[in-house]
């Protein structure tokens, strides 16, 4: 025979369960808009029944809440993280390439093709009056704006490279900070869960950190026996309580990966000394986006002999600009195409022409500042054929002597002084439309294909970013579908618990009536 007031206890357990349930509902509703929150539920069960002694089975003892569960799918989390990393990579590329595109600004009057157009227009002007110092000065000042124009572009590209480099450093710092937070949460969760309970909200927080981390770099998360570890591009990063931090190491002076790189770019290593493969083909995330733009050289071998990074990033564009100005300078100076073959009707270019003093001064108009800081004199490198390999977009300049004395510009191809002999200039003019100058065609074809390539790359990045962000929304929605709080659901459970509570209270008042009758109104 069970004890008296037994029914009252059963009713009370119903009250408690309903209240507990309501508090979980309240928690869910309160966190409905908390980022990374996954809905929780009260794990409710019937409490242990009592056996009766009259062989009539067991008697229920009411209900109890044995724990609070969390609805979260690790599988969906991982999917989300993978997609998020790819999105991060393209978002960064879109940002970076948009900057590059603005730097080139090929669709405007300051673009390289516009610079070429005005240069050749001035040259045409000079053909009308080869002896005129006004026209000569005009050509020289336009040449100067050409040099300044392309150099501004190159300097902006280099600045972008340096900025990307600094962003990499900030990203690495952020990644480390996330790693440290994850590891301390690992510790908190581990300790809490030793007592057999689920650390729901802490787990949500940890997953949220991984959400952020996965934007920066592709992660791999495993949890075995409650030990949670995070790998970055398949290399161990957080292992249970430990973090293997990343570190940036500035390259030593003079040690550049691509010839035109800024000095002191960062390499990434693990702080414990083991190497981190920055150029791994499986790397994604914002980090990959930045590295690609900073170091991408379209896969040609680097100056240090390392295999290149097959993306068209800043080093690639600088390299292309180098090739452009080297070819341009060679065509103007010597009337040779990019392969070193003579261009028809150029009479060997400026160095073989005769100046307004009737002399063959052999000076090249387009030269460069050599390693000693001096203006290189023709023939470059002192040999024959002249070596343009040391000329680059940053040291490219005009011959100061010619700029100071425009009469030294060699317009004539005649050993005898001829005031209006414009053959060298006509030859230079013809370079503008010389189809076999470069593999891509004329100078402007080359620029157009360069700008076009950048446009296509950016368009592609934009396309990937767009489609990837939709994929991310879809995966996120799938996660929310499982874990998200839904008001209607919560309201339904709320009213269910309310009903339960009302029912239990009613039971109590019924039992109260019973006992009242029994104790106060029966017998005496």
């Amino acid at each position: 025979m069970h004890s008296s007031f037994f029914e009252l206890n059963v009713a009370v357990s119903g009250l408690f369960t309903a209240k507990n349930g309501l508090s979980v509902v309240g928690h869910n509703l309160a966190n409905a808009s908390t980022t990374g929150y996954s809905r929780q539920y009260a794990i409710q069960s019937a409490s242990t029944p009592l056996s009766t002694y009259n062989h009539r089975g067991m008697v229920g003892t009411g209900s109890e809440v044995v724990g609070v569960g969390q609805i979260r799918s690790f599988y969906l989390d991982r999917q989300y993280w993978n997609q998020k990393a790819i999105l991060g990579q393209y978002t960064t590329k879109v940002q970076q390439l948009t900057l590059t595109e603005v730097v080139f600004n090929e669709n405007s009057k300051t673009g390289i093709s516009s610079l070429f157009n005005s240069f050749f227009a001035k040259l045409q002007g000079l053909t009308e009056e080869a002896g005129s110092s006004t026209y000569r000065t005009d050509v020289l000042s336009t040449s100067q704006s050409f040099v300044t124009g392309v150099q501004t572009i190159a300097q902006n590209l280099r600045k972008q490279q340096v900025d990307a480099n600094e962003e990499i450093e900030m990203l690495v710092t952020r990644i480390n900070s996330l790693g440290n937070q994850i590891s301390s949460l690992n510790e908190a969760i581990w300790k809490y869960e030793l007592m057999g309970q689920n650390a729901n909200d802490l787990r949500d927080q940890r997953a949220l950190l991984v959400d952020e981390l996965s934007k920066y770099v592709n992660v791999d998360v495993t949890e075995r026996d409650g030990k949670y570890s995070v790998m970055i591009d398949s290399q161990q990063f957080v292992t249970h309580f430990d973090v293997n931090e990343l570190a940036v190491v500035a390259r030593e002076s003079g040690n550049v990966r691509n010839a035109m790189d800024a000095e002191g770019l960062y390499d990434i290593k693990f702080a414990n000394g083991s190497s981190f493969n920055m150029y791994s083909s499986s790397l994604t995330g914002e980090l990959k986006g930045l590295i690609d733009v900073r170091d991408g050289n379209n896969g040609i071998a680097t100056s240090t002999g390392a295999s290149g990074l097959s993306y068209r990033g800043i080093p690639y564009y600088l390299d292309q600009l180098n090739k452009l100005i080297q070819t341009f300078a060679r065509a103007m100076n010597e009337g040779l195409d990019s392969e070193g073959n003579p261009i028809p009707d150029t009479y060997g270019g400026l160095v073989n022409g005769y100046d307004d003093y009737g002399k063959q001064n052999g000076m090249a108009l387009f030269t460069y500042i050599n390693a000693n800081g001096d203006e290189e004199t023709f023939p470059f490198g002192g040999g024959s054929p002249a070596d343009y390999s040391q000329m680059n977009i940053f040291n490219f300049c005009l011959n100061t002597e010619i700029v100071e004395d425009p009469k030294l510009l060699a317009c004539s191809n005649s050993a005898v002084y001829e005031q209006s002999n414009n053959n060298i200039i006509l030859g230079m003019v013809s370079v503008a439309n010389y189809q076999s100058l470069l593999n891509q065609g004329t100078l402007n074809d080359y620029v157009a294909s360069l700008a076009g390539q950048l446009g296509v790359d950016l368009q592609e990045a934009k396309y990937y970013e767009k489609s990837q962000s939709e994929i991310v929304v879809v995966t996120e929605n799938r996660r929310i579908q499982v874990s998200g709080v839904d008001y209607n659901e919560e309201i339904v459970s709320m009213s269910a618990y309310q009903k339960q509570f009302q029912a239990a209270s009613m039971l109590i008042s019924v039992i109260n009536d019973l006992y009242d009758r029994m104790i106060n109104q029966m017998g005496v």
């Binding site: 409905a32 390439l97 948009t98 595109e101 090929e106 669709n107 673009g111 093709s113 516009s114 070429f116 157009n117 050749f120 227009a121 045409q124 002007g125 053909t127 009308e128 009056e129 002896g131 004539s412 005649s414 050993a415 005898v416 002084y417 001829e418 005031q419 209006s420 002999n421 414009n422 006509l426 013809s430 503008a432 439309n433 402007n444 620029v447 157009a448 294909s449 700008a451 076009g452 390539q453 950048l454 446009g455 296509v456 790359d457 950016l458 368009q459 939709e470 929304v473 996120e476 929605n477 929310i480 579908q481 499982v482 998200g484 709080v485 839904d486 008001y487 209607n488 309201i491 339904v492």
Partner: protein
């Protein structure tokens, strides 16, 4: 499928964002009137746009070149017209001289021709923007000297002649106060007097004669004489056959005002530098790969031969003098055929003097007529030559005119193509913008009313 509130709000946001992007896209198109602002908006159209821009920039420059070319050729043509005019006047004068009654009339005309001859030479000094237009690339060198240059040393002046250049003429030559010869001569005329080291086809001339040599116009059949005072080469009858066509090379030191400038006219050497008039076409580029000369050369208009002809003509007339009565009186006073010489009577002397004077005048007139007729013929030849040059120039001017039209049409066509390529069709874009705006508004309205709804509204 379980749909939660945040899923819905995510989707609403995604859609609003997508629609906002469309609104932004069409707004930017309308605001800039361009279909794309950056190559990545449409890489293909953008690279096409670059091409159009280059073509238009080139076109603009080519139009400038055309204007410069037109100006240059027009000035060149003006000079040619002047040359034609002067040549015509010379020809008319020659015709007038031919019809002249007396030797004195003819000499007056010859004097007038001398004035025109310098004027003709000076047309070759025509300049445009401070540059001599008929001097090829050497636009700082005048066609004929402006000042005397007594020290200038030019060697190896080379002239080529065909047999047309040989003038077969009657001559009358006064070599002393009373001596004269007359007959037929074959003359080749250099444009300079007093040249040195004259060679014909590499061989020195067989004789350098002065006008005081009686035989200077009467070389042996294979002889070639050079007369420095007149700049004439006199060919023997056989030499005229054997040596033609010929290359005459000579040196000259010291030039006078109005002498032809050898640097502009002939292959020659000055100060160890070799001058040649080959490839002296000043070319302008009028379109991609289309370039042709805008100039004509002095040496093709007022040629060295023409200059030599006129010089020789004028000199010949200058040198036609006659024996004076006194000199002849002295000559004929005694008959030197007897020993001792016997004095002639007054009448005999007078008869002899009159005979010689008549003979001289007869011969001189014959020679003059012969030279004048030859000059008329040469004038026709040179007029034809100038006309040919003018036609050649005219052809080029027509080409420039045609190119000018074509460049203008091209500019229009390419601007249109450029517009089609990059300019927005405003009506279309405006329509698209309002559609995008409508979608944007709808997505916000519907999204909002959807998000506001939950079971709470019904509790």
């Amino acid at each position: 499928m379980r749909i939660t509130n945040s899923m819905m709000s995510n989707n609403v946001l995604l859609n609003i964002n997508r629609n906002a992007q469309n609104v932004n896209k069409y707004y930017m198109q309308l605001a800039s009137t361009k279909k794309f602002l950056y190559p990545s908006d449409d890489p293909i159209a953008a690279s096409r746009a670059l091409k159009f821009r280059t073509v238009l920039a080139e076109n603009e420059q080519y139009q400038k070149n055309v204007s410069a070319g037109v100006a240059w050729t027009e000035v060149t043509e003006d000079g040619m017209k002047e040359v034609t005019e002067i040549l015509k006047i010379i020809r008319d004068l020659a015709v007038k001289a031919d019809a002249g009654e007396s030797i004195e009339d003819k000499q007056t005309v010859a004097n007038e021709i001398r004035g025109l001859w310098t004027q003709l030479a000076q047309t070759m000094n025509k300049s445009y923007l401070g540059r001599y237009i008929y001097s090829g690339y050497r636009t700082d060198e005048p066609g004929v000297f402006i000042n005397n240059d007594p020290t200038l040393e030019v060697t190896g002046i080379t002239q080529n002649f065909t047999s047309d250049a040989l003038e077969r003429t009657e001559y009358y030559h006064k070599y002393s106060d009373t001596g004269y010869t007359a007959g037929e001569a074959i003359i080749l005329k250099l444009p300079y007097t007093d040249c040195d080291k004259v060679t014909v086809n590499g061989n020195s001339v067989t004789g350098i004669k002065s006008l005081s040599d009686p035989d200077c116009y009467a070389p042996g059949a294979s002889d070639i004489f050079y007369i420095p005072e007149t700049g004439e080469l006199v060919f023997g009858s056989q030499a005229a056959i054997d040596e033609m066509p010929c290359e005459v090379v000579y040196d000259k030191t010291g030039f006078k005002k109005d002498d032809l400038n050898p640097k502009v006219y002939f292959t020659c050497d000055v100060d160890g530098k070799h001058y040649t008039m080959d490839n002296q076409d000043i070319e302008y580029e009028f379109s991609v790969g289309v370039r042709f000369p805008v100039n004509s050369l002095a040496k093709d208009i007022v040629t060295g031969e023409l200059y030599g002809d006129l010089m020789s003509f004028v000199n010949t007339f200058d040198n036609m003098t006659f024996s004076s009565y006194q000199d002849l009186y002295v000559l004929y006073e005694y008959d030197n055929s007897t020993t001792p010489p016997t004095q002639r009577t007054e009448n005999e002397i007078k008869a002899l003097i009159t005979e010689q004077q008549d003979k001289e005048r007869e011969m001189a007139e014959k020679a003059m007529d012969s030279r004048i007729n030859n000059l008329i013929e040469s004038c026709d030849k040179y007029l034809q030559k100038v006309a040919d040059e003018q036609t050649d120039l005219g052809t080029r001017m027509t080409r420039i005119d045609l190119l000018k039209d074509r460049l203008k049409t091209d500019a229009l066509t390419y601007s249109e193509l450029q517009g089609k390529n990059e300019d927005v069709d405003l009506e279309e874009a405006a329509m698209k913008l309002s559609m995008a705006e409508y979608a944007y508004q709808a997505s916000m309205q519907i999204g909002m009313s959807m998000l506001m709804l939950s079971l709470m509204n019904f509790m």
